[in-house]
């Protein structure tokens, strides 16, 4: 099972997990990213490159499927304006092996951060907007999987 969605709408994490659990593997790992309301942040705006986003996420998912014995992968990434507490991203993996499920889940979120065409802009109470700067740490984390 491969499920990829890029959408402004929220998602139902329970339904996504249930679909992965139903695949008959022994383990389902998931990661949910959430907007933090720190430093007076009032909203996050997620821009993306529509023609590229889904094909690129699909390539990342295919890499995970090549690398680990997975029964299912789900990636949902939201775009548009999101408020503190809102979910941004869901990554879920199902496998017969817990290590495969957990590692591939970590790989997918690391690669989404550094290899998928999304850009975050933070808005604060004073109306000011600030583009989030890519962290060298995230690049390094994604690069770490190359030699894995």
């Amino acid at each position: 099972m491969k499920r990829i969605a890029v959408q402004p709408e929220d998602f139902d994490a329970a339904a996504e997990l249930a679909a992965l659990e139903a695949l008959g593997g022994g383990g389902v790992a998931s990661f949910i990213g959430i907007v933090r309301g720190e430093g007076g942040l009032v909203a996050l705006e997620l821009e993306h490159y529509p023609a590229m986003t889904e094909p690129q996420v699909d390539r990342i998912v295919d890499q995970a499927l090549e690398r680990w014995p997975l029964l299912g992968v789900t990636v949902i990434h939201r775009v548009g304006r999101l408020e503190p507490g809102a979910r941004i991203v869901f990554v879920g993996t199902a496998s017969r092996h817990r290590t495969a499920a957990l590692e591939s889940c970590a790989f997918l979120i690391d690669w989404l951060k550094s290899h998928a065409p999304f850009w975050k802009k933070e808005y604060f109470a004073d109306g000011e907007g600030r583009w989030v700067v890519a962290r060298a740490e995230d690049e390094a984390k994604a690069a770490g999987w190359q030699s894995f």
């Binding site: 490159y49 990434h77 991203v89 999304f118 850009w119 583009w131 890519a134």
Partner: protein, 85 residues
Amino acid sequence: MALDILYFAWVRERIGIDSERIDQPDSRATVADIVTLLAARGGGYAEALDDPARLRAALDQRFVPLDSPVGEARELALFPPVTGG
């Protein structure tokens, strides 16, 4: 040949438009050559594009290094490093 250029995030904001079509100068031109060409327009273009080290690019929806030749690509996207996830 026509080349569609797309801008994202602060590159888009500084230039003030999200896309445009240009005549591709030469199929041997690299992405960096086109960035230099556009930056030479000055104003928002210079502001957005004068430091190629801060830019990333995609040709026909595939990430490429800035020294890649544009070749037969129909779409070039210019943007800062991605920050999704």
